[in-house]
């Protein structure tokens, strides 16, 4: 089931982005001129501008943004995510969020994390009419082209977002098989999409919702266990009847590592690992201590990795046999500036910590845990 619609680029964009027109605007191209006239006329297909058309509060610490990207948006498959590029105090931050559709618009749902600069900004500062930028959609945590007879979905907290996109897409397209959602939260008040899920459950008889609350107020409580799995299988839609007593349904899980591991173990135990699909939401590496924590240093372009220490990344890259560009080795000339695709580093001059995808200067960056570099 492929819900993505990949429309051909609009004619005017194709013409404007042609070689001749870009040559007239050399060296940086015509798109830069167009976006000064209207930000939505940008021709940058890696950072597509999108208007925020509506903001909806889901729970006290979660909001949904409805987005209208420009014509370069390629469409997405439910379950995929994209990078949101948001400028906060002059600085562009990027974070991954799952994509969904809401009232015909693209939407992302964001839960404010206690120390999350971007997620808190989205929850409190962002306004309707603001323009942010989106990467093209990515990820292969998607429903298969041919839907299986039964689906088991398991989510915890904000891990519901890709699951919700898959669930709604399947049900709205007339999926007739049984779907059960096992959904873990602290309490009902903390449950993102609670009302929307209840409505889905009452509209579609083949969908059963199994909320689990850790505060002990639900029918099911605590963490994922075999008992939860069995309950889900025997639930009203008769999932197990479809699949046979020892057969497990195709399963999609999104949540913290512990949950994914627990479900994975059960599937492995029962010999159905191939039906298990998971999406990890990686938390930012902790920034503890004054000396850089030892972790893994991944050089993506040269496809190698080494274990890191607290020296600067330039020295460590050179020690690993790489020859990244470098210059003054004191943080002045920016010759060694390089894209960090993942992980956190500390600027050894200012002490500032950089998280996630960002450009850093290797000669004055100290790794904090695992770091991936595009060199």
């Amino acid at each position: 089931m492929n819900l993505s619609t990949k429309p051909a680029r609009r004619t005017w964009r194709r013409i404007a982005d042609s070689r001749v027109i870009n040559a007239l605007a050399a060296p940086n191209g015509i798109g830069r001129y167009l976006e000064v006239l209207n930000p939505m006329w940008s021709l940058d297909q890696t950072r597509i501008p999108a208007y925020i058309t509506a903001i909806r509060r889901e729970t006290k610490d979660t909001v949904t943004l409805e987005l209208r990207p420009n014509g370069d948006w390629p469409g997405f498959r439910p379950g995929q995510f994209c990078q949101l590029y948001i400028e906060i105090n002059g600085r562009l931050h990027s974070r991954s969020y799952s994509l969904n559709r809401r009232a015909g618009r693209i939407s992302v749902t964001v839960k404010a994390q206690a120390d999350g600069l971007v997620s808190r900004y989205i929850n409190s500062q962002i306004k309707v009419g603001d323009i942010i930028r989106l990467s093209p959609p990515m990820g292969d945590f998607v429903l298969p082209e041919l839907l299986p007879d039964a689906l088991l979905m398991i989510a915890a907290g904000s891990g519901i977002t890709p699951i919700m996109a898959m669930l709604e897409a399947a049900l709205k397209r007339g999926y007739k098989g049984g779907v059960t959602l096992l959904y873990y939260n602290r309490s009902e008040a903390d449950t993102v999409f609670h009302a929307r899920l209840l409505k889905l459950a009452s509209t579609y008889s083949n969908f059963s919702l199994l909320p689990v609350f850790s505060d002990g107020t639900g029918k099911l409580n605590g963490h994922f266990s075999q008992q939860h799995l069995l309950t889900a299988l025997s639930f009203q839609n008769n999932l197990s009847a479809h699949t046979g007593a020892l057969t497990l349904p195709e399963c999609f899980v999104c949540g913290p590592e512990a949950l994914i591991q627990a479900v994975s173990d059960e599937y492995q135990l029962l010999g159905h690992s191939e039906k298990f699909h998971a999406e990890r939401f990686k938390a930012v590496t902790s920034t503890s201590g004054d000396t850089g924590a030892v972790g893994t240093l991944i050089f993506k372009n040269s496809q190698s990795e080494v274990s890191s220490d607290s020296r600067n990344l330039l020295e460590q890259a050179e020690a690993a046999g790489l020859q990244p560009q470098s210059g003054c080795r004191m943080g002045i000339c920016h010759s060694c500036s390089c894209l960090k695709t993942d992980g956190s580093v500390r600027n050894m001059n200012s002490g500032e910590v950089s998280h996630g995808e960002e450009y850093i200067r290797l000669c004055i960056s100290q790794p904090l845990g695992d770091v991936s570099l595009a060199i």
Partner: protein
């Protein structure tokens, strides 16, 4: 003037260095929306000015007598001033746009002053400017070599750019008799000069490199030159059809305006009277304080209004630029207050003056150093 950086007491140098460093850290810590808004505003002005100037140049063609004689001779003659008004506005506007792009936008972005924004459009690795030298080559020859080894003889290739004699310590040679002519040519073709300087073309003459060593970089540089000159001297003129030469002339004028202006500002950065140069030996194992001290003595500022500072890419604050090459340049003016105070405190010179005065001393030097040293004393003497 040749200086030994060890003249100041080490503990004083350390204290001086710490104070300069504090000014830098406070500016870096304060970077934020204000800087982002500023650079976006200048880029916006540049883009709009470029569009307007190019429209002016093409609009002027409508008022060329030749296009109107068909209707009436009187109309043709009457439109003559209008043609000149539009084509001048277009050429000067395009020249100013190129100056903005090369100096306040390109030079400063390629220095990495806006890398912290995390936006490829303003990032040193991604930005390229509207001149012949590819941005990444410039980043090496300028950001690294010139800014790290500022005014160190035989290390900083910006002393004389390999063709001029700009320091008495450079050994005289009869070819330097043409110093003023070389300087004038460099001024008029500054875009090409910068591009060739970036590939160290002068090292062919000195035998330090062979053509084979230079070729890979030279190829990229020529490709970039073809891109920029192709745009200004072929593509836009072709769009004008029979008026090809008119648009070509306007675009050449814009480039020359940019060349003369950039040359003038840049030569006032390190060559006016009173700027010091250093020997390689005196800069070995430099402390942070010594490094700042050398940058201060090796640079000179220009006084002027706000618009002048913007048009010079804030290289009018060459001293602050050399102390803090990666601090957003629009902050130099406010930082200079503190730097002057620190200089006074430590009794250090702060070389500054109006453009006409500093520039005059540069040209005096260009002429004077064309001639061999008059006395037989060591050329290293001050």
């Amino acid at each position: 003037m040749n200086t030994n950086t060890t003249r100041m007491k080490p503990e004083l140098l350390d204290a001086f260095g710490a104070e300069i460093e504090a000014v830098k850290q406070s500016a870096l810590g304060d970077r934020g929306e204000r800087d982002a808004r500023y650079i976006k505003k200048i880029v916006r002005i540049h883009h709009l000015l470029t569009i307007a100037a190019r429209i002016c140049i093409f609009a002027s063609l409508l008022f060329l007598p030749a296009s109107l004689f068909g209707f009436s001779i009187a109309l043709g003659i009457a439109s003559w001033p209008l043609f000149w008004l539009l084509i001048s506005a277009g050429s000067i506007g395009l020249g100013i746009a190129k100056i903005l792009d090369n100096m306040e936008i390109g030079h400063n972005i390629i220095h990495g002053q806006y890398d912290w924004m995390g936006d490829p459009r303003f990032h040193s690795r991604h930005y390229d400017w509207d001149t012949n030298c590819p941005g990444d080559q410039w980043a090496h020859s300028h950001n690294y070599e010139h800014h790290t080894y500022t005014n160190i003889l035989d290390k900083d290739r910006d002393i004389g750019y390999g063709i001029l004699r700009m320091d008495p310590a450079q050994k005289w040679h009869p070819a330097y008799l043409a110093n003023p002519i070389f300087a004038t040519l460099l001024m008029l073709f500054f875009d090409m000069g910068v591009a060739l300087h970036g590939v160290e073309i002068d090292s062919l003459r000195s035998g330090r490199k062979t053509f084979k060593d230079v070729w890979p970089e030279l190829k990229l540089s020529l490709r970039k030159t073809a891109q920029i000159w192709g745009k200004d001297f072929i593509l836009y003129p072709i769009l004008a059809g029979p008026f090809f030469p008119v648009v070509l002339a306007a675009n050449v004028a814009a480039s020359v305006i940019r060349n003369i202006w950039s040359f003038s500002i840049i030569f006032c950065g390190h060559f006016p009277d009173g700027v010091h140069t250093f020997t390689e030996a005196s800069c070995e194992n430099e402390s942070r304080g010594q490094w700042y001290y050398r940058q201060l003595l090796g640079s000179a500022n220009l006084t002027g209004g706000k618009l002048f500072h913007v048009m010079s890419g804030n290289l009018s604050h060459q001293i602050e630029h050399h102390l803090f090459p990666d601090v957003p340049a629009h902050r130099y003016a406010e930082m200079s207050v503190e730097i002057r105070r620190i200089c006074e405190k430590y009794g250090l010179p702060y070389n500054t003056g109006p453009l006409y005065r500093q520039y005059a001393t540069v040209w005096v030097k260009i002429f004077k150093l064309a001639l061999p040293p008059r006395n037989t004393a060591s050329p290293l003497a001050v």
